[in-house]
Amino acid sequence: MIHTVVMISIICIAVAILALTYRVIKGPSTPDRVIALDAIGINLVALIALISIGLDTNAFLEVILLLGILAFIGTVAFSKYLEKGVIIEHDRDR
C-alpha cells in the first residue's frame, strides 16, 4: 500500500520536475529560469525523501538538508547577481 502511494507521488513529482525543466529551457527571462530552478531544487528534496521511503533507508537525510541549503544559497546568489551584477562585493574600507 505504502509503496503504491510512494510510486504515485514520485511520478507526480517527476512530472512536476519535467514541467519545470520546460520552463528552465523556454525562459523567456532569466528570473523565470531561476525561479524554475529553485522549484526544481525543492522538488528534488521531495523526490529524494520519497525515494528514501521507497528504499526504506535514512541514509539520504543529509542530502535533503544539503539540497535545501544549496537551493537557498544558489537562488540568493543568482538574485544578487541579477540585481547588482556581482555576487561577492569588494571591500570598500580599503
Binding site: A14, T21, I25
Partner: protein
C-alpha cells in the same frame, strides 16, 4: 687488456694529451709530438708479419659487456695486418707531411691532431676487431672523425656542406650495416666474426641471409664510395690535403673494401654477392674514371680517380667469389681476381697517397689547384714533377710501376671471367672486360691530364697567387717515400707476396692455399695487348681532348646524382615541413578530431576484429520507471544544451544534468556521492557563470554552428563507448572483490560507512594524492590571478 689492445686505443690516449701539449709547447709544431706514435705502432705491427704468415691468427680478448656477448676481441690475421700496416705506415707519412703543410701559427693544430688521432685509432679498431659490435662502434667513430676533419675549416661553407653530406651518407650506410650485424646475430647467436664464418653453412640456408647480405653491402658501398653513393667523396675534398691523402684515398674509403673482404667467407657462396659487388664495382670504375676527365680541380680529379680505383678493387673482390664454385680445380685464374684486389689495394694506397701530397704541394706553392690556371711548373718544381709522373703513370697502369702489374692482373681476371659458367657469367661476363678496358682508357686520360696540364705547357704567373717554387724538403719526404715504394714494388713485386699478400688472401678465402707469384714480365699475351691498346687510344684521346670534351656538356645536369642528393634533401626538408604544417595547424578542434577519430577507429576495429561485441542481459537488473524518467530528463537537458542560443541557458542546463546525476546517485544508493555531487555541481555552475559573465560583450550570442564531421565523430564516440560498456558488462570474467570490504569494514577498520573507510583506510593513498591535486589546483588558481609578470607577453 693486452699490448694489442693498448696499441689500438693508444691514439685515443694520445688524443687526450694533444691539447695539453699544444698549450704547453707553443713553439714546437704539435705534429712532432704525434709523429712517434704511428711510427712505433707501425714497427709494432711489422713484428707480427712473420707470425701471421706462418701460424694461426693472434687473438686477444677483453671483456666489455659480458651479458650481451660483446667482447673487445682483437684479432690479427693477414688481412687485418695488411690494413693495420697501411693505416700506421701512411699515417706516419701523412703526419710528417702535415707538419710542413699546416702552419703552426695560423691553424688550430690541437683540434686537427685530436681528430686525426681519433680517426687513426678508430680505423685500427675497425680492421683489428673480431667482434662485430666493436667493429661497428669503431666504424661510426671513423665516420664521425672524418666529419670533423672534412669540416676542419668550418668557417667555409663548402667545408660544412661536404662534412654534412659525407656524414649523412656514411652514417646511413653504417646504420644499415648495424642492421646487417643484428641479422647475423639472430642467425648465429654470436657477434664474433670467426664464429660467424664457422657457421656460414647455417647462415646460407637461413631466410635472413639475403637481407643481412644487402644490409652489410649497403654499409660497405657507402663507406667505400661505390656508385651511386660515391657523391660524398668529391665534396670531402674540402678537407686539408693531408686528410684527403690519408682518409679519402688510403684508409677510410678502404674500410668498405675491408668489410667486403672480411665478410667474403660468410656470403661469397651466393650469386647475389658476386653480381652486386662485381656489378657495382665495375659501374663505379667506369663512372669514376669517366667523370674524372671532366674535372678541372686537381683534388676533384683525384677524388673521382679514387672512386674509380675503389670500384676496380671491389669488382675484383666480387669476381674472386666465383672461385669458390670451382673447388678442386687447380687453376690459378680463379684466384687471381682476389690476388689482384689485394695487390692493387696496396698499390693504390702508395701512389694515391703520394699524388694527393703532390697536389697539396702544388696548391701550397702556387695558391691554386685549378688546372686551367696551372702549367709549366716542370722547371720550377722538378722533384714534385718527378713524383707526379711516378704516381700518375702507376695509376694509369704503365710499366715499370706497380700499377702496371695490378692492371695486368686486373685484365687477366676480367678476361677469364667468361670461362666461368656459374651465375650466367658465361653470357653476361663479356661486359666486364669491355667496360674495364674502356674505363682504363679514361684512367689513362685523366692521369695524363693530371701530370701534363699541371707541369708542362706555358707558365701563367699572372693567374697564380704566389710565385711558384719548389717545396721545402720536409714536405717532400713523405711523397718521396711513397713514390719509391711505387717503384720498388714495381720492380720487385714479390717482396710483399709471401709475407703480406698470401696471409691476407687466406683470410679472405680460407678454402684455398695461395702461392702468389707476381711476374714482372709474362710474355706477349692478351693483357699486354690490351694495355698497349689503352696507351694508344688514350694518347690519341688525350691529344684530341679539346675536340671531344664537349660531350660532357651534353650530359644533362638534372640527371646528375649530386642534383638528386640536393633535391632529395630539400624535398625531405620541405616535404616534412609541409606535412607538419598540414596537420599541425594550431587549432585544438583539429587535434581533437584526430584524437577522437583514432579513438573510434582503433577501438571499433579491435571490437569487431576480435569479435568481442556481445550483449548478455541475463545479469542486468530490472529497469524501474523512475530511472526511465531520470534518463529522460538527463537526455532532454543534454540535447537541449546543443540547441539553445544563450550561454546562460546552457550553463543552467548543465547544472540540471549535474543535479540529475546526483539523483541517480540517490537512486543507486550512494549517499556520499550524492552529497558531494550536489555541492560540487553548485560550485562549478557558479564558476561557469563567473566565466561567462566576463566574456567580451561584443560577441553576438548564437547557436553552435553545425558541422557534419563533428556530428559523425560525436555520434561515433558515443556509439563506441556504449558498445564497449555493453560488451564489458556482458563479459564478467570473475567475481568482484567487494565482498571483502563488506565483511571487514567494521571488524578491521572500525567504521560503518564503507565508502569512507575505503577512502581513508583501505585505499588512503589515493585520497592523499587527490588532496594534493586540489592543493595544486588552488595554488595554481591563486598564482594565475595574482602573478602578473611585468614585461612578459
Amino acid at each position: 687488456m693486452s699490448l694489442l689492445h693498448l696499441a689500438i686505443i693508444s691514439p685515443f690516449l694520445l688524443a687526450v694529451l694533444v691539447p695539453i701539449l699544444y698549450k704547453l709547447f707553443r713553439k714546437v709544431h704539435t705534429g712532432w709530438f704525434i709523429l712517434p706514435l704511428p711510427l712505433v705502432l707501425f714497427v709494432y705491427f711489422v713484428s707480427f708479419v712473420s707470425a701471421t704468415s706462418t701460424s694461426q691468427p693472434i687473438i686477444e680478448s677483453f671483456t666489455w659487456i659480458e651479458a650481451l656477448g660483446i667482447e673487445f676481441t682483437a684479432k690479427i690475421d693477414g688481412l687485418g695486418l695488411l690494413f693495420a700496416l697501411l693505416i700506421t705506415g701512411i699515417g706516419t707519412l701523412v703526419i710528417l707531411y702535415s707538419i710542413y703543410y699546416l702552419s703552426k701559427d695560423k691553424e688550430k693544430l690541437n683540434t686537427f691532431y685530436v681528430y686525426l688521432l681519433l680517426f687513426m685509432g678508430a680505423m685500427l679498431g675497425v680492421v683489428l676487431s673480431d667482434n662485430l659490435i666493436v667493429l661497428y662502434a669503431f666504424w661510426e667513430l671513423t665516420s664521425f672523425s672524418s666529419f670533423l676533419l672534412i669540416g676542419y675549416w668550418y668557417d667555409r661553407e663548402k667545408s660544412r656542406y661536404g662534412a654534412q653530406k659525407s656524414m649523412l651518407i656514411t652514417v646511413f650506410g653504417g646504420l644499415s650495416m648495424f642492421g646487417g650485424i643484428i641479422l647475423l646475430y639472430i642467425m648465429t647467436g654470436t657477434f664474433s666474426i670467426t664464429e660467424i664464418i664457422a657457421q656460414s653453412d647455417v647462415i646460407f640456408t637461413h631466410p635472413l641471409f639475403v637481407p643481412a647480405l644487402l644490409c652489410i653491402l649497403l654499409g660497405a658501398f657507402t663507406k667505400s664510395a661505390q656508385f651511386p653513393f660515391h657523391i660524398w667523396l668529391p665534396d670531402a675534398m674540402e678537407a686539408p690535403t693531408p686528410v684527403s691523402a690519408y682518409l679519402h684515398s688510403a684508409t677510410m674509403v678502404k674500410a668498405g673494401i675491408y668489410l667486403v673482404a672480411r665478410m667474403s667467407p660468410v656470403f661469397a657462396d651466393h650469386a647475389l654477392w658476386l653480381w652486386l659487388i662485381a656489378g657495382f664495382g665495375i659501374v663505379t670504375l667506369f663512372w669514376g674514371s669517366f667523370s674524372a676527365v671532366k674535372q678541372t680541380d686537381l683534388k676533384a680529379i683525384l677524388a673521382f680517380s679514387t672512386i674509380s680505383q675503389l670500384g676496380m678493387i671491389m669488382s675484383l673482390l666480387g669476381i674472386g667469389a666465383a672461385a669458390l664454385h670451382f673447388d678442386g680445380i687447380d687453376d690459378k685464374y680463379h684466384t687471381i681476381a682476389t690476388t689482384a684486389a689485394v695487390f692493387h689495394l696496396i698499390n693504390h694506397a702508395t701512389f694515391k697517397g703520394s699524388l694527393f701530397m703532390v697536389v697539396g704541394i702544388v696548391d701550397h706553392e702556387t695558391g691554386t689547384r685549378d688546372i686551367r690556371r696551372l702549367g709549366g711548373l716542370m722547371q720550377l718544381m722538378p722533384i714534385t714533377f718527378t713524383l707526379a709522373i711516378i704516381g700518375s703513370f702507376s695509376m694509369a697502369g704503365l710499366p715499370p710501376f706497380n700499377g702496371f702489374l695490378s692492371k695486368e692482373m686486373f685484365f687477366t681476371a676480367m678476361t677469364h671471367i667468361i670461362d666461368f659458367n656459374v651465375f650466367q657469367l658465361d653470357t653476361w661476363g663479356i661486359l666486364f672486360p669491355v667496360i674495364a678496358w674502356i674505363a682504363s682508357v679514361f684512367t689513362f686520360i685523366y692521369s695524363m691530364i693530371l701530370v701534363f696540364k699541371t707541369f708542362t705547357g706555358k707558365l701563367q704567373p699572372e693567374k697564380l697567387e704566389k710565385k711558384p717554387h719548389e717545396a721545402p724538403i720536409g714536405m717532400l719526404i713523405s711523397p718521396i717515400i711513397l713514390a719509391s715504394l711505387v717503384i720498388i714494388i714495381g720492380f720487385f713485386p714479390n717482396i710483399l707476396s709471401v709475407n703480406i699478400i698470401e696471409p691476407a688472401l687466406s683470410a679472405i678465402m680460407p678454402e684455398f692455399l695461395f702461392e702468389v707469384h707476381i711476374s714482372f714480365w709474362h710474355g706477349f699475351n692478351l693483357e699486354l695487348w690490351m694495355t698497349i691498346g689503352v696507351i694508344v687510344l688514350g694518347t690519341l684521346l688525350y691529344l684530341s681532348l679539346a675536340k671531344w670534351r664537349k660531350i660532357y656538356g651534353l650530359f644533362p645536369e638534372k640527371l646528375a646524382l649530386n642534383k638528386a642528393y640536393d633535391h632529395g634533401l630539400l624535398f625531405a626538408q620541405n616535404g616534412s615541413l609541409k606535412m607538419t604544417k598540414m596537420y599541425m595547424n594550431g587549432s585544438i578542434r583539429s587535434y581533437l578530431i584526430y584524437i577522437f577519430a583514432f579513438f573510434i577507429a582503433i577501438l571499433s576495429s579491435v571490437l569487431f576484429s576480435q569479435n568481442a561485441f556481445k550483449i548478455d542481459l541475463e545479469h542486468a537488473a530490472d529497469v524501474r520507471y523512475y530511472e526511465v524518467l531520470l534518463v529522460a530528463v538527463i537526455v532532454i537537458a543534454s540535447v537541449a544544451i546543443l540547441f539553445v542560443k544563450s550561454r546562460l541557458t546552457s550553463v543552467i542546463l548543465l547544472g540540471t544534468v549535474g543535479y540529475t546525476v546526483a539523483l541517480f546517485f540517490v537512486n543507486f544508493r550512494a549517499p556520499d556521492l550524492a552529497l558531494t555531487q550536489l555541492v560540487i555541481e553548485t560550485i562549478s555552475v557558479s564558476l561557469f557563470l563567473l566565466c561567462f559573465y566576463h566574456l567580451p560583450k561584443k560577441r553576438n550570442e548564437e547557436r553552435m554552428a553545425f558541422k557534419a564531421t563533428n556530428l559523425v565523430i560525436s555520434i561515433g564516440v558515443g556509439a563506441v563507448v556504449t558498445l564497449i560498456a555493453l560488451s564489458a558488462h556482458s563479459t564478467k570474467l570473475f567475481e568482484s572483490i567487494s565482498q571483502y570490504y563488506v565483511e571487514n569494514t567494521y571488524t578491521e577498520a572500525a567504521g560503518k560507512n564503507m565508502v569512507n573507510v575505503i577512502l581513508v583506510d583501505f585505499r588512503g593513498f589515493d585520497t592523499l594524492f587527490e588532496i594534493v591535486v586540489l592543493a595544486i589546483a588552488s595554488i595554481g588558481i591563486y598564482a594565475m590571478i595574482k602573478l602578473r609578470m611585468k614585461g612578459a607577453k
